[in-house]
Symmetry: D2
Subunit: 365 residues, 4 copies
């Protein structure tokens, strides 16, 4: 496959299928000397873990991570860090009803044609289970960014189907099962999800991630721009269909005077750019939004074809998230953290000794 | 900088500044044996070229491309193809009014901080002039995709500020200066642009690109998904702020039953996926939308700071596109073509001999 | 560290320390559909395994490999193949006598300076134990090359210190603990090693690897030449100090008429080139020789300094190979197999459809 | 071809054929702020240039380099540096006698089979002319290494056929047409070359390169070791057949006590390691030897086959170096400089802030 490594200097190489023995990754390029234990990683894994509310899949996976290498006497060594998470709850029988046919909107068909076989067990490699590995790797990047550079990466669900978060409170996000920053909308979301589950349908969502404290200068134009790599990072997550930096698609109807973020020595006067100018971080908050499509696995029957080429009706009875977006918040955070980490190292390599007389412009006036 | 190479097997390595001697690139990985002359490339360059209507910058660049290597007796040899475009019309004096200060919303500030100097001449490396090189490289990819695989990559402007294209006619696109597929909206766009120019302001736009004839199977999960690499490709273009595959952000409010594209042996019944499932092409049309922000260079004054740290007012008098999106259509096409070409080669390497009993599902029922 | 991935399309990403929990790797890029079980890998691991004769380290490691992913119903899926080998016999106490000082000729000092800490336990990441992972990954490449392309990769010890193999018999190689192809020299080698062990010293060796059945065309000039990548592959093995292709350093004193391999339609008349011309395989046998230095860990005292900057005497009492070259044969085979596999895939990507009227020249007249 | 980029952070992407319009490259990753003009590059190009003595090819190429980008007001900008050298003296008629047949020992045959066509004009892409580009790129690396880090990279011819340099004097090297450090052997070399030319034959050579002032710590195990990348770098040069680090193949017969370089706080007591331990620079001089085979193009007739599959006799009358090794000294220097530069940047990215209490061991006691 050879597409399972992310990053250039801080690399994550991922492995594992939904119903194989284990999933995991090798994180290569973490600088030596950072304190690291499994506990540092487990926190984010628990946030992504299925089965923590009635609104996500009921598959029971403890998602316990083990560090196999790269840490000596509690500190990173500079050697590759291998992380393994054993699969525990693999109820493959759940998939018997889709073994011989393709779920519309799912990777079933394209994997079958590309690789020449059908791994019906929970989507095999195409399963969202793979994203646990990203969260684990992201925790390492997050820790380094926070401890060494004061960079903080945090995400939230900004929209669940028709329900938008209007108010914003970071403290609220971990208080509800949706990572919703608006306490007033939680009840509406719960009601929406309950109805959806009863209906047997699924729904899309929008996840936003913000990085604060990012220094000016990260990003390697003209192709390895920070925004371009963030777009790749987010779009590489299962079910992602759109990515925006800052104003995103709103800028289509914005005039220049409206979009540009004016500058004073006290700080930028706005942040439509989402913290990136010319593919390089400006010192403002990095803001990225990602659209997640509704899960293709659902109880409502749909038209499809079988491996035998005959028309079939498909119904998915397995344990699935009716809204994959809900658990996507820690995944988006992880992908942003890994991307920033990679660019931090790349920037250091060539530009670490650049100095200018002008001090950095503060993030916000 | 080291971020100036795009692709893994079909690679484009770009060089050149807006007001240097020349811009160009090395295209490495083009299979041998394809007929290729400068004329094959010049067509797309002329479509992107500035100064072809009153709605784009009046800089006069013939953008004549020269092939320095990789072609022997009219055919590609498998060796790297070097393309060079000389810069002709470098009126650097135009930039005297911004030499000592940063344009808000422009890469001026971030380049200055990252690289430690100020190349005021038309943005130097951050200039949109660099995209001519992408168009040239894209032409080679387009030609191969068309001749060897029957893949066609075409783009259009789907929205210019508030004016949306409603009707769709491929034949109309080259008949107006906007690449607009809706003849009825051209007049409105012209009026809008004329008013905008008079105002001294700029505006955003949305460009759509569609690839037809793409076989099922392109894309290398879990990171080098086709959609992820397309997102990188598009977001790496100057002024891009958002990327959507198929339904894009609309899928946030779509239910599963609405979004999924049902399957029959006569073809898929819809294409909300935009031709990509699980990061792999499905055989349907690949559909990508990109949002371009309004140009930061404009005549209306804005607040900024100078290299001396003092507050300044900035006005850009140079020759600029009031809507960079207008000329972005061939650039988006080029980036999609290059991405598809890279993935075509990658797919061949590992999966070329995969066969399945089930025939391919046609693109559309 | 970020230098732990080998290859471009067929990639091996390695992890693990000599005395950590486990070592292993992720093999990405293996085409789908090849039968694969642990047994296919174990054979080569057992050939490299320590403790199989009195001439190698007495560390007891069963080196049992486990496949965690990438195989479904006994066949490769195209997804990354994770391999894990648990460390069993980690007698860290053996290293107490070198904890505070550097072994001359060992990576002790450079690792300490680069990474800022001292992992005294058997060399940590710099240990030859890491090569077990290469052998495991190489087995997968070997199997594919043999089954799909008829390529066979085999190695042998051509020289142990002063004792050269003169006669050549492939069948003899697995009959002695040295991988020596000359039965008449085995006794001499045993006597040499016994004396050396008694003396407490160590010795160098030369390993040769030959690949037969390699088609003409593998190699990507001008930098990713097949010989260049083989040189990297071999020199990346612990203790390697020299690499030769074909005639190697003998060609310094060869005249052109002597070195060139004349061509007839019945085959090449000699093979001084070692099967590679212009960085591309010629269809002849690929021949590579690698020089391995004597182990730096030995009982005879040497002058060094301590972590405290004071002069010290160093004696290594741990379990070490007095001649690391002995066990290097399967490692060299593995690195050649992985390199050929990577180039096979790369060649397919761009040149698979090239045809010429002239048939291939046979390997040997 | 896609194998025309060298390096990971400091990258050289090469293009051009022996008898095309031009050769050149893009150097990406050079840090900003270094003074650079064409004159800085021309010096090394002139050392490699053909036709400077009767012992090299009489092709007249001024090899004048032009910088197209990446330099602004006399300093590098951090943007890619494009270098172009026009081909001037392309006497293609010289090749008429080999158009229809393959030179034994030359890349003629393998290029033909891989790419499907015959570029008879001086070897096309496989020509040693391509190495001029490496020398140009190497000059940039050399300048940075010298100015910013005090690293000096210098080479010499240590053996020409049977004639070895015995004495060593850096000052002598530029005083003779062979880069020979032993003034007493120059006459012998001249006589040998004159006889060889009369005979119409060619001969091999050995080139050595030494880098002084390299800090401890460069190299990224376990695969991207400094020695492994140097082996790739050297073996990627036309006609290279062997690479040694330090003692090289001599270590096959060395005992551990003999090979290991003992350590004192006043410096290492010897340098058999060639300045690299465990794939990481030790602070000692980096020493690399490369074997170059005799040119395959020569006047003495040889057996071969034609494009028509018929047996042919081949005689090369074109202008060729009877000993390609003679001009290889600046090429080997360039490849070492580029490799060190790449590793310097990589090291900075991850390990720049590592500190140890123990001071660095001096290179030599």
């Amino acid at each position: 496959m050879s597409g399972n490594t992310f990053g250039k200097l801080f690399t994550v190489t991922s492995f594992g299928e939904s119903h194989g023995l284990a999933i995991g990754c090798i994180v290569d390029g973490c600088p030596p000397g950072m304190a690291l234990t499994e506990a540092d990683i487990q926190g984010d894994l628990d946030r992504r873990r299925p089965g923590t509310s009635r609104h996500t899949t009921q598959r029971r996976e403890p998602d316990e991570v083990q560090i196999l290498s790269g840490v000596f006497e509690g500190k990173t060594t500079g050697a590759p860090i291998a992380l393994v998470i054993n699969n525990v709850d693999q109820r493959s029988k759940d998939y018997s009803n889709i073994m011989d046919r393709f779920r519309p909107g799912h990777a079933d068909y394209t994997y079958y044609k590309k690789y020449g076989f059908r791994d019906y067990r929970g989507g095999g490699r195409s399963s969202a289970r793979e994203t646990a590995v990203r969260v684990a790797a992201g925790s390492i990047a997050k820790k380094y960014l926070a401890e060494r550079c004061g960079i903080k990466v945090r995400g939230y669900l900004s929209q669940l189907g028709p329900v938008k978060a209007d108010k914003f409170d970071w403290d609220e996000i971990e208080n509800n099962p949706f990572f919703c920053p608006d306490a007033d909308k939680v009840e509406e979301m719960e009601a929406y999800m309950d109805a959806l589950r009863k209906e047997g349908n699924s729904i899309g969502a929008k996840i936003s991630v913000i990085a604060t404290g990012v220094p000016v200068g990260l990003g390697e134009p003209v192709f390895d721009r920070l925004d371009a790599d963030l777009a790749l990072a987010m779009m590489s997550i299962n079910a992602a269909k759109g990515v925006e930096i800052g104003a995103g698609f709103d800028c289509v109807t914005q005039k220049g005077t409206e979009h540009r973020d004016e500058i004073t020595m006290d700080g930028f006067l706005s942040n439509h750019a989402g913290g990136i100018l010319g593919g390089i971080s400006s010192g403002q908050d990095i803001i990225v939004h990602t659209a997640f499509k509704p899960t293709s696995s659902m109880r409502l029957p749909g038209q499809t074809v079988g491996l035998d080429g005959e028309p079939k009706e498909v119904i998915t009875k397995g344990r699935h998230d009716p809204c994959v977006g809900i658990r996507a918040t820690p995944i988006c955070e992880a992908m942003m953290a890994v991307t920033l980490m990679d660019h931090l190292l790349r920037h250091r390599a060539q530009n670490a000794d650049v100095t200018t007389e002008l001090p950095d412009i503060p993030a916000q006036a």
